[in-house]
């Protein structure tokens, strides 16, 4: 097997949450956003690898880490076998000629105070002109630079180039701006292009054209793409292999055709169910995840998808705060809220890892203990199965869960999937 172009091994990127001085004294200072939390994948030369996930799942953070805009907290990045996890400035400068980014919002990615021709000329002034054998030739000749900009414009279909050279981004359409951004990147003759939602902001009508254009560029310049999107339909069109991301982890990864034909992870299934099918007669029940994406500062224990998963098991990672979420959801119904008022309000409950507890003070904890047992029984399901015990400790009612089963990515039917079901 040949060496992959890019290899990402157990990449973790955490961002500190800025807290005030007092908060730091009180010990809240180690809060970190777990943007990317142990991601492993590799991309072969000439491949289109897709990272698919909801907003906030960490896919853009991976893109930024690859071009050195964000530092990896741990893990390794290998480009053609060379370790580029923490590059020195010179390596980074060279790396940025080989890995480049295409942004979602082409309008915002171009300085409004610079003509689009200048935007590309500036890149050539910094990096030199692309030479015949993949090298770069520094030049001071403004004429040569202008020539090169014209050629690049011509390559991306902005014709006549001289007409576009002196345009400001304001004066171009969305599709044209995306072409300018592509031209700016191509001026560097990169080998890997990280396309971060390149068509999300374009009109439906230009979207397909833009995707075809990206594929044309790929063929012409022998590019490899890391294609980041939240849109499974786009990914299906573009990608050879895809990785489905949820809250900083890849939950399922494999050949796109395999995954689309037969998704394994409940999250992948839910995403595929959510694709609208233009058929008014079609009436199938959609199994969609409940609730919202949890906060990445304190990601859920066990499988991160478990609080929302339609196929959840008792061993998936139930913990203290899931009890509180259950109470919150339950008491949205006024009758239940009234009948079970004794156990409330929700804010009296406190979660600590696998434990949820309520301080009763001078009130008798007995009735609350009975009530919470009944609620857990009544709501049943996998969560109740995960409870180790409900107990009274002094004046505190405690619900304690069993620790989750170990979750590791596994090979299953031609793809890697991270779920206890397999």
């Amino acid at each position: 097997m040949t060496e992959p172009l890019l290899e990402v091994r157990d990449l973790k990127v955490y961002f500190p949450v800025f807290s005030g001085f007092v908060q730091r004294l009180l010990g809240g200072g180690d809060a970190r956003v777990h943007a990317v939390d142990g991601v492993t994948f590799s991309i072969a030369e000439g491949e289109v690898f897709g990272l698919v996930g909801e907003s906030g799942c960490g896919k853009s953070t991976i893109a930024k880490t690859l071009v050195g805009l964000v530092r990896a907290t741990s893990g390794r990045l290998l480009f053609r076998g060379e370790d580029v996890t923490r590059p020195d400035p010179k390596t980074l400068f060279r790396l940025r000629e080989r890995i480049q980014l295409i942004y979602q919002d082409a309008h915002a990615a171009l300085s409004p105070a610079m003509t689009v021709g200048e935007a590309i000329a500036d890149v050539l002034r910094t990096h030199g002109l692309p030479g015949p054998s993949g090298n770069r030739v520094q030049t001071k000749s403004e004429d040569a630079i202008r020539e090169a900009v014209y050629r690049t414009f011509d390559d991306v279909g902005l014709r006549p180039p001289a007409f576009y050279y002196n345009k400001y981004p304001d004066e171009l359409s969305g599709g044209q701006k995306q072409r300018v951004v592509a031209a700016r990147v191509l001026a560097l003759r990169p080998q890997l292009i990280v396309a971060d939602e390149p068509v999300a902001m374009l009109d439906m009508s230009v979207r397909a054209r833009m995707l075809e254009f990206l594929m044309e560029l790929k063929a012409k310049y022998h590019l490899t793409y890391l294609f980041i999107t939240h849109d499974l339909a786009t990914a299906k069109f573009m990608c050879d292999r895809i990785g489905i991301m949820y809250l900083g982890r890849i939950v399922e990864m494999g050949r796109a055709s395999t995954i689309y034909a037969d998704p394994k992870h409940p999250y992948t299934k839910a995403l595929l169910e959510a694709i609208p099918i233009p058929d008014p007669e079609r009436k199938t029940k959609k199994i969609l995840p409940r609730g919202e994406v949890p906060n990445a500062v304190w990601p859920p224990a066990g499988c991160r998808f478990h609080p929302r998963c339609p196929a959840v098991l008792a061993s998936c990672g139930w913990e203290g705060r899931d009890v509180i979420a259950l109470l919150e959801e339950r008491w949205l119904s006024p009758e239940l809220a009234e009948r079970e008022a004794l156990a409330g309000p929700v804010k009296e409950w406190e979660a600590d890892g696998l434990i949820a507890r309520r301080q009763m003070g001078k009130t008798d904890p007995g009735p609350v203990y009975d009530l919470i047992r009944r609620i857990l029984l009544e709501s049943g399901g996998p969560m109740a199965g995960a409870v180790r015990k409900v107990s009274i400790e002094g004046t505190v009612v405690v619900v304690e869960f069993r620790p989750p089963d170990l979750l590791v990515p596994k090979e299953a039917e031609g793809r890697v999937v991270e779920c206890l079901l397999y």
């Binding site: 919002d105 915002a108 610079m114 500036d122 910094t126 403004e142």
Partner: protein, 302 residues
């Protein structure tokens, strides 16, 4: 380097002027035109003083304290000097001080603001602290202190006024930079491997530059007042140089007898500062909504 600068500057200044001309018929635009007209008139007066002024400003040309009229349109002062001639010659001082002091403040405040805003972190906090402590001082008081230490002269006074205004340039530019540096085009420039200096000079500066003309005019108006204040307090220029502020300090005790010798210099200070304020306020209305409109447009596209 020269070519780089010329390209950046022509497009930048051109764009600002273009924006202004596009809105020159609005109320704000008219304010700017009036202000510019007055300032230019005073500038012409100052440049052509030797030809326009009817008398030598520093010699006794008639008996003291003659009321306005006849050969002396604005009367004569305590020393028998022609008030009009002194006003015409005196217009050179505030204009010179505006030119020198704003140049100094801009030359220090702008780069400091750019670097501090872009770098962030400890360095930013350090520079901010120094600038805020200067800013916390009442401007005139600070200028008095500096002028008292370094003495008289146009350069010295300009320097005193410049120090007062450095934090204003710094603050406005720095805050603008901290917001502009979050823009994807700045991030893209970094990702494209642009050196830091280039990112600041080519990608950030042109997008924060619309703040500069506004601070400039407010700064200029304030410089005129501060200079006059220093002169009134006796910290102005050495005697012998006609100056509006100095004339006020010379004549104000005789206001009940010869009001004209105090009134006219005061009136001209008022006219010049008002005109500069018109320019500043008008430009603020014209150049800053540009910013708002652009944000609106970007939002609408999303």
């Amino acid at each position: 380097m020269a070519g780089w600068f010329a390209r950046g500057r022509t497009s930048l200044v051109g764009r600002l002027i273009g924006t202004f001309l596009g809105q020159s018929r609005t109320i704000a635009g008219i304010l700017v035109w009036i202000g510019l007209g007055v300032v230019l008139t005073i500038l012409v007066l100052a440049l052509l003083a030797p030809f326009i002024a009817p008398f030598d400003p520093n010699t006794k040309v008639a008996s003291p304290e003659l009321p306005p009229g006849g050969a002396f349109l604005m009367g004569t002062d305590r020393g028998g000097q022609d008030v009009l001639s002194r006003i015409i010659w005196g217009s050179r001082v505030p204009l010179a001080i505006i030119a020198v002091s704003t140049t100094i403040s801009l030359a220090l405040g702008l780069p400091l603001g750019l670097v501090s805003g872009f770098a962030g972190g400890r360095m930013d906090r350090g520079i901010l602290l120094v600038m805020d402590s200067i800013y916390a001082f009442p401007g005139l008081l600070l200028a008095i202190a500096i002028a008292a230490v370094i003495g008289r002269g146009i350069l010295n006074i300009s320097f005193a006024i410049a120090v007062v205004y450095i934090p204003t340039y710094f603050r406005v530019i720095r805050n603008h930079v901290t917001s502009v540096k979050q823009e994807p085009y700045v991030e893209a420039a970094v990702a494209l491997g642009m050196p830091r200096r280039r990112v600041i000079g080519r990608y950030i500066l042109p997008n924060v530059a619309q703040s500069i003309p506004v601070i400039f005019s407010v700064n200029a108006a304030d410089a005129v007042l501060t200079e006059a204040g220093l002169a009134v307090l006796g910290l102005g220029l050495p005697p012998g140089i006609p100056d509006w502020g100095f004339d006020i300090s010379l004549n104000w005790q005789r206001f009940d007898v010869s009001w004209w010798a105090t009134f006219f210099p005061g009136l001209f200070i008022l006219i010049l500062t008002t005109a500069l304020t018109f320019v500043g306020e008008g430009l603020n209305d014209i150049l800053n909504p540009l910013l708002r409109k652009r944000e609106y447009k970007a939002g609408a596209q999303a």
